[in-house]
């Protein structure tokens, strides 16, 4: 691979009172400053969640005319997909410098609905919404229920994921729950039930937030101000939009996206020093740890309890920030870990980081492997 991440930044997080474009701008200017680049250097742009024409909208707002854009809409996994597309575009010579950005004011704007977004012409609206599933929670809840049944696991196994996330958040001053104090398994079990077996504390936060990263050729990256973070490999899998489409709730697309990313990088799970896994819900982490091969089916509860791998070191969507689509912030934390910038939450000597985005209802999966420049 010959492409690297050279800049990364968050916007304001939490409850900001800002607009989407203000948050995008904060993240973009922050990432450019981090990289020592200017808007004039950007000739590629990927973003989502702004409007129907997201990349075009942001390009117009920034006053740039990119040679390459992407607004592939794949929920929280879109941003990991953009890394893949950006690397391909840079390697193909279509552009030299790609900005990937995101911003959401969903908390301030109170724009989130329990039913999700129903589009009248889709089969889900016709055949599934009459039954009143919460979107996306009820799907993950059914995956969790099946997981507990198939593996003889307990709600405590789910709860431990939220407990572990909080431990990391207490080390990250930017985390929404930084000052909230520790969380216990009993706290999670006693939280109000939303869609059984998932309680409020099994669900990610609803916050504002945003982020941006910048990619360019590794050759050019070596002349910039930050240590390059090299794109080592990537893989994707798209599986379902409907809640009844997947044959087996316990075989998510992360199995294939992970295999594809490992194969491209020539690495395996044993080579990963730190992982950033989309934790929309506690069950998402158990399924993703198993899907990516960090442990076997049914073993993730014990794996988490043993703290066998440093993952979601910023506190994750459960305790740090979850601005509707969290995928970009997975990449920001992966980059920072590989640069050794994470202070009290730094994983010593991290050489290889994995970021895994999950979109929709386990619908889309994208795995990115990043590494230090050797």
């Amino acid at each position: 691979m010959s492409v690297a991440v050279v800049g990364a930044a968050e916007s304001e997080l939490g409850v900001t009172g800002k607009t989407i474009m203000e948050l995008q701008t904060q993240a973009i200017t922050g990432a450019l400053a981090d990289a020592g680049l200017s808007l004039a250097d950007v000739d590629g742009l990927a973003t989502a969640g702004v409007s129907r024409f997201s990349a075009t909208q942001v390009a117009d707002y920034l006053g740039i005319r990119p040679a390459w854009t992407d607004s592939t809409f794949a929920g929280g996994s879109a941003f990991e997909m953009y890394v893949a597309r950006a690397a391909q575009a840079i390697e193909a010579g279509q552009c030299t410098t790609v900005l990937i950005s995101y911003g959401s004011n969903q908390r301030s704007a109170r724009s989130r609905s329990l039913a999700g977004v129903l589009e009248p012409h889709t089969p889900e609206t016709e055949f599934e919404s009459p039954y009143g599933p919460l979107y996306p929670i009820s799907y993950y809840a059914m995956a969790a229920q099946r997981y507990l049944h198939a593996h003889g696991a307990k709600r405590e196994d789910l709860a431990e994921v939220a407990v572990a996330a909080r431990e990391w958040a207490l080390l990250n001053p930017r985390a929404y729950r930084y000052e909230a104090g520790p969380l216990t398994v009993d706290d999670v079990l006693a939280s109000p039930m939303v869609s059984s077996p998932l309680t409020v504390a099994d669900c990610c936060l609803v916050t504002d937030g945003g982020g941006a990263i910048i990619l360019t050729s590794l050759e050019r990256a070596r002349d910039l101000r930050r240590p390059p973070v090299v794109v080592l490999g990537y893989g994707e899998a798209t599986t379902n939009t409907g809640m009844a489409s997947a044959g087996d709730l316990l075989e998510p697309g992360s199995i294939m996206s992970g295999r594809r990313a490992y194969a491209m990088a020539g690495l395996g799970p044993q080579d990963v020093d730190v992982a950033q896994l989309y934790d929309s819900f506690t069950i998402t982490v158990l399924l993703t740890l198993e899907g990516l091969g960090f442990c076997g089916p049914g073993e993730a509860g014990d794996f988490v309890r043993r703290r066998a791998l440093p993952y979601n070191t910023n506190g994750g969507g459960l305790s740090y920030c979850h601005p509707g689509m969290y995928g970009l912030l997975l990449l920001v934390e992966a980059v920072r870990q590989l640069r050794g910038e994470c202070g009290p939450r730094q994983v010593d000597g991290a050489q290889v980081a994995l970021a895994h985005g999950t979109g929709g209802i386990l619908s889309t999966h994208a795995t990115v492997l990043l590494g230090v420049d050797r």
Binding site: F127, H149, S195, G242, A244, L249
Partner: protein, 117 residues
């Protein structure tokens, strides 16, 4: 795909059947996901199956749904999986056997739901 909804008025749960390869599918589509064929017909389900998984919903997404209620994936004995509701009092668990029941909608169509067998 009106035939599917029209059949519900008569209490018949239809599955789409591919005339080319015999594949059964739900929801109805303009092609077979088994072989890509477009010659499709209907087969009536016997209305028996098992709970693949379920969740008790405690917060209402809209006024017509009063919690708590049970959303489930039911795997019909014919193969296809439906999203549905489980109705009646039961200590629900995965792999539990269920049978078809119906809930009448305002316009006379009926919604297939399932109860304990």
């Amino acid at each position: 795909m009106t035939p599917w909804w029209e059949a519900t008025r008569e209490g018949r749960l239809l599955l789409q059947r591919c005339e080319g390869c015999g594949h059964l599918q739900h929801y109805p589509r303009a092609l077979c996901t088994g072989c890509g064929g477009t010659d499709l017909g209907w087969q009536e389900s016997a209305g028996r199956g098992a709970v693949d998984s379920f969740t008790v919903v405690h917060r209402s997404p809209s006024p017509e749904h009063a919690p708590p209620y049970v959303v489930a994936r039911v795997r019909l004995d014919e193969g296809p999986i439906l999203l549905t509701n489980l109705v009646g009092d039961a200590d629900w668990h995965c792999d539990q056997r269920v049978r078809l029941a119906w809930r009448t909608l305002d316009d006379g169509r009926r919604l297939p739901v399932f109860e304990q067998e």
